[in-house]
Every structure is written in structure tokens, then in C-alpha cells.
């Protein structure tokens, strides 16, 4: 006789296992296809899993396109935009939480309205503005439009509203300047939330495809995602090379995701509670 408690647990595990399998299988397929020998990709009689692993495919893919340069561009764009988002959001969030000043509400609503404009609906005028600045195909053209983060500003404002104000008072009595109170008293307090917001913002910038696509159109300025889509057009039926290229682009982020899973989950949750 089957224990009903055991049976229901077995059912939960089975369903969860299926869900995890659905998530992970495409990545396994990528790896299997990436290391397939050339003769086995366009052969209907070949087995689905490669008979032996052709690790050289990955080196071949790396050498077929300027992946090094694209990685550098992705790093400059993502790090620049993320640091900018953290800095501007920290400053604005702190000011909205800690100070009273004329026009505060109107300025806050201006930010709120900015949040209501999905960036993708205004891509055409944004590119026109960047063209007026002669910023197309430049790092500043990639980075600067992405620096303001309404989400970051709200998160940090919420955090500083709940931060103990006595800490700042104590420092002020000791003669600390406002700037010092901000940078040495309150910013260190916000470190965990900076980490959670920073990792989510970094991943979003790193994975941003539409924006670089419309701002940059030279191979030397392409970010990794764009480069990968160009690569696909050049090697359209060499599935093993395309999957090797995808592996090159995906693997580093997979490592980041595993290492920072706690902050990522916290960031996703925080991002939804505004």
C-alpha cells in the first residue's frame, strides 16, 4: 500500500524535475551541438548527441570573429551604464528622501512620468537626438541615455526613507559636511541594496540588444549580443559554430548568475515592489 504522503511528495518532486529539465535542456542542447563534429550536423542518421566532442569548434568560432573586441565593448557599455545608474540613483534617491526643497514634488513626478514611458516606444526620437549630438557609434551614445534609472531612484529613496536619521545627525554634530554624511554614513548602509540593484542593472545592460542595435552600426563598436547576431548571418547553416559562439557569449553570464543567485533573486523581488 502506497503511503499517500509519500505519493504526493513524489508527485511534487516529479513535476519540479520536469520544470527544471525544461529550463536546462536548451542549454544542454547548445553544448551538445557546439561540440558536434562537422559531419554530424547535417546528417539525419547521426545521433542527436555527438559521438565525440569536438572542442576545437569553440576555438574556431572565437577566431572567426572579433569576440575579444565585442567583449571589451560589452564591458565598457555595461559597466559604464551600471555605475552611472547606481550613482545617479543613489544621489537622487537620497535627496528625495532626506531633504525638503522647492519643487520637490514636481521633480519627483517628472521622474515618475519618465518611468511610464517604455524606452522602446521612443527609440526613433532617441536616435535622432543622439545623431544631433554626433553620438551614434560612440561609447557615450551607448552609455549616457541608459544612465538615468527611475527604478533605482525609487529603490534607494525607499531605502533611505527607512534609514535611521540619528546616524546623520550624530555625524553633523561632529562637524561632518552633508556630502560626507551621504558618502560615509548612508551609502555604506545601502551596500546590500546597491549589490542587488547593481547586479540586476548590469545583467540588463549586458543583455540589452535593441538599444545597441540602433545606436551602433560598425563591427568594431558592436557589443557581444550584436556581434553574435552578425555571426549567425555569416555561418547560417554551421549550427555547431553558431552554438559554439552562443556558448562563448552565454557561459560567462551563467557563471555570474550561479555565483550571484541570491542577489539576483533579491533584485528581481525588489524591482517588483515599488
Amino acid at each position: 500500500m502506497l503511503n499517500p504522503r509519500f505519493a504526493s511528495r513524489a508527485l511534487v518532486y516529479t513535476l519540479l524535475a520536469i520544470a527544471v529539465l525544461v529550463v536546462v535542456f536548451p542549454l544542454v542542447w547548445m553544448l551538445g551541438t557546439a561540440v558536434k563534429p562537422n559531419g554530424q550536423i547535417l546528417d539525419l542518421n547521426a545521433s542527436l548527441w555527438p559521438s565525440h566532442f569536438e572542442w576545437g569548434n569553440i576555438a574556431r568560432a572565437w577566431n572567426s570573429a572579433p569576440f575579444g573586441r565585442w567583449t571589451l565593448n560589452s564591458v565598457i557599455f555595461s559597466v559604464g551604464a551600471t555605475l552611472g545608474q547606481i550613482l545617479t540613483s543613489l544621489l537622487a534617491g537620497y535627496a528625495f528622501a532626506m531633504f525638503d526643497f522647492r519643487g520637490k514634488n514636481i521633480l519627483f513626478y517628472a521622474l515618475l512620468c519618465g518611468l511610464m514611458v517604455p524606452f522602446s516606444t521612443v527609440i526613433v526620437p532617441v536616435v535622432q537626438i543622439l545623431a544631433d549630438f554626433h553620438w551614434l557609434n560612440t561609447y557615450q551614445g551607448l552609455i549616457v541615455p541608459n544612465i538615468a534609472s527611475a527604478l533605482g531612484t525609487f529603490l534607494f529613496r525607499q531605502f533611505f526613507l527607512g534609514a535611521p536619521y540619528q546616524l546623520g545627525e550624530a555625524a553633523r554634530i561632529d562637524g561632518a559636511s552633508e556630502l560626507h554624511v551621504f558618502s560615509s554614513v548612508y551609502v555604506p548602509l545601502a551596500r546590500p541594496i546597491i549589490a542587488a540593484f547593481g547586479i540586476i542593472a548590469f545583467l540588463q545592460n549586458w543583455n540589452n540588444f535593441l538599444f545597441p542595435l540602433i545606436v551602433v552600426n560598425t563591427t568594431s563598436m558592436d557589443v557581444l549580443s550584436q556581434g553574435l547576431s552578425v555571426f549567425q548571418n555569416q555561418f547560417s547553416s554551421s549550427y555547431n559554430l553558431i552554438m559554439s559562439a552562443a556558448l562563448i557569449v552565454i557561459a560567462p553570464i551563467l557563471i555570474v548568475a550561479v555565483a550571484a543567485q541570491r542577489q539576483i533573486i533579491e533584485g528581481i523581488t525588489l524591482g517588483a515592489i515599488q
Binding site: 536546462v24 526643497f101 533611505f160 552562443a246 543567485q261
Partner: protein, 304 residues
């Protein structure tokens, strides 16, 4: 969570002197850049949707609503239909699967808590890379799915040239990529439910379905509306997998409103039509957000 209605630290400080210029310096970068790259472009979009001329045109000619009627006549109507079908499918599937997996992870069995990490993987991977995996899974003849169909003696399916299958391919990718976000959000919401209510129902002998339907589901309503807003806006902004997998085809069957804007603005150089569709997509996003938040506000008050 913290509430915005708390008095600021400034007010709590009472008589202490407030800095005059510093606050403006602090907010200037965030507000200035938001105005320059969100609000000004929105104004430009609305204004220029009424004028003819190319992307970088120097002289504009007023054409009234001509761009709008051109957009509707040249595939714009179809793109709105595609957007509606895609977004509704996306919302139902990602929210349904997200809630189901969250409920499973929330069951008190050993190790379940560690299993939530895999679900964030598709979410944070570069979507061009994962969309290329999809392309190779769904490829004609040699793709995984067609190899399986062939192995079972079934007809192979051409996902890139059959309109309904192309949309299905794009949708399955969207669901695979995003449902993990809803797993995480629903799981966080489930953790905040008052356990005494759920356990009381347990003691009363209510079955799992009744416990969910009458205890948890009503308590989850606020979270559900919030997740609904986020998911809908995400669905409306789908772009990458369409660009990689179908390029909007065949015959516009996977051209969403956003892809239409991209295509008209940066490939066909019909800037006026792109701007007109931009205005329409903005108004749709705004309308949906306002309606959903309106329902949210009402639901929240009833719960209180």
C-alpha cells in the same frame, strides 16, 4: 515594506537648517537625463508623428494624421493584432506556469528551496544567445524538434515559414525565458501569506485545491495584479527573439507593434509611420498600466 507616506528625515529633524543648493545638485543628473532621454523624446514622437520626412530629415512638412492612416494601411493593424495575441498568450502562460511552479516550490519538502535558482537562468542569459538555441531547436529538418518528429514517423514542421507556427515558436521562447521571473515573484508573495490562515484550513480538512482557491488565491490578489502589470509590459516590449528567429515574418505574422516601429524606423526609413506606431504603443502601454493599477488600487482597499 517601507511606505512612501513616512515623513522625510528632513521633516523629522525639525528646526535643523536645510541645505539650499545641494538637493538640486543631487537630483540633477537623474532628473535631467530622464527628461532628455524619456520625456523630450516622447514629445518629439508625438510632434513628429504629424510630419513627413526621414529619420535625419532637416525640413519637415505637416501631414496631419496621414502617418497614422498610412501605418494602419501598411501592416500596422496586423502588428497590433499580433501584439494582442502574443501578449495575451505570454501573460496567461508565464503567470500560470509561474504560479504553479511557485506553489510546488513552496510545498514543505526537503531541498525545494534550493531548486528556485535554475528558474532565473533563462531570465539573465543574453537573449540573442538563447534565441539562437531556439533557432537550432526549431530549425527545419535538422533541428531537435524536427528530428524527434521525423524519428516518430510524423510530418516535419516548418516553423519559420508557417505563420501560426512561427508565432508559436516566438511565444514558446518568450514563455521559457520569462516564466522564472513570475516563479520568483509568486514565491516571494507566498512567503508573506499569514501561515495561521493556511494552517487553519489544513486542520479543517480542506483539500489542496480548496485551500488554494479560497485561502491563498484571494490573499495573492494584490501580488497577482502587480505581476500582471510587469508581465504585460514585458510582453508588449518583446523584440530580440523576433529579430533573431523570424525577422517579423512570414508575411508579418510575427511583427509586433515594437518590431513594426523598428522595421519602419530603421529598415524601411518610414519615420513618420514608425513615430505614429510609437505613439499608439505608448498610449496602449499607458492605458493598460492605468487600468491595471486602478484595479490594483480598488483590490488593495477592499483587502485593507
Amino acid at each position: 515594506m517601507w511606505r512612501g507616506v513616512k515623513p522625510t528625515a528632513a521633516r523629522r529633524r525639525g528646526g535643523v537648517k536645510q541645505p539650499l543648493v545641494l538637493p538640486y545638485l543631487f537630483i540633477a543628473p537623474a532628473v535631467g537625463l530622464t527628461v532628455l532621454f524619456s520625456l523630450v523624446p516622447l514629445g518629439m514622437l508625438a510632434y513628429r508623428s504629424l510630419f513627413g520626412g526621414g529619420v535625419f530629415a532637416t525640413s519637415l512638412s505637416y501631414v496631419g494624421l496621414q502617418n497614422y492612416s498610412n501605418a494602419f494601411a501598411n501592416g500596422g493593424t496586423q502588428s497590433l493584432e499580433v501584439t494582442a495575441v502574443y501578449t495575451v498568450g505570454f501573460v496567461i502562460l508565464t503567470m500560470g506556469i509561474g504560479l504553479a511552479v511557485a506553489l510546488l516550490l513552496n510545498v514543505n519538502v526537503r531541498g525545494a528551496a534550493h531548486l528556485r535558482a535554475p528558474f532565473i537562468i533563462p531570465l539573465v542569459m543574453p537573449s540573442v544567445g538563447t534565441a539562437l538555441i531556439w533557432a537550432s531547436l526549431f530549425a527545419p529538418q535538422f533541428g531537435f524538434i524536427n528530428r524527434i518528429l521525423g524519428g516518430l514517423g510524423l510530418h516535419q514542421a516548418d516553423f519559420t515559414s508557417t505563420p501560426s507556427l512561427a508565432l508559436l515558436m516566438v511565444l514558446t521562447f518568450g514563455v521559457w525565458q520569462f516564466f522564472g521571473e513570475n516563479v520568483i515573484l509568486y514565491l516571494a508573495a507566498l512567503k508573506t501569506l499569514p501561515m495561521d490562515l493556511v494552517e487553519a484550513a489544513n486542520v479543517d480538512g480542506a483539500g489542496p485545491w480548496r485551500r488554494f482557491r479560497y485561502i491563498r488565491w484571494p490573499l495573492l490578489r494584490r501580488s497577482t495584479v502587480l505581476i500582471w502589470v510587469i508581465t504585460t509590459l514585458t510582453g508588449l516590449q518583446t523584440f530580440t527573439q523576433i529579430y533573431i528567429l523570424t525577422n517579423g515574418g512570414p508575411n508579418g505574422s510575427t511583427t509586433t507593434a515594437l518590431f513594426y516601429i523598428f522595421n519602419q524606423g530603421f529598415v524601411q526609413f518610414n519615420t513618420g509611420q514608425a513615430d505614429a506606431m510609437g505613439v499608439i504603443l505608448f498610449l496602449i502601454s499607458l492605458f493598460i498600466t492605468v487600468v491595471q493599477v486602478g484595479i490594483f488600487g480598488r483590490g488593495a482597499r477592499r483587502d485593507a
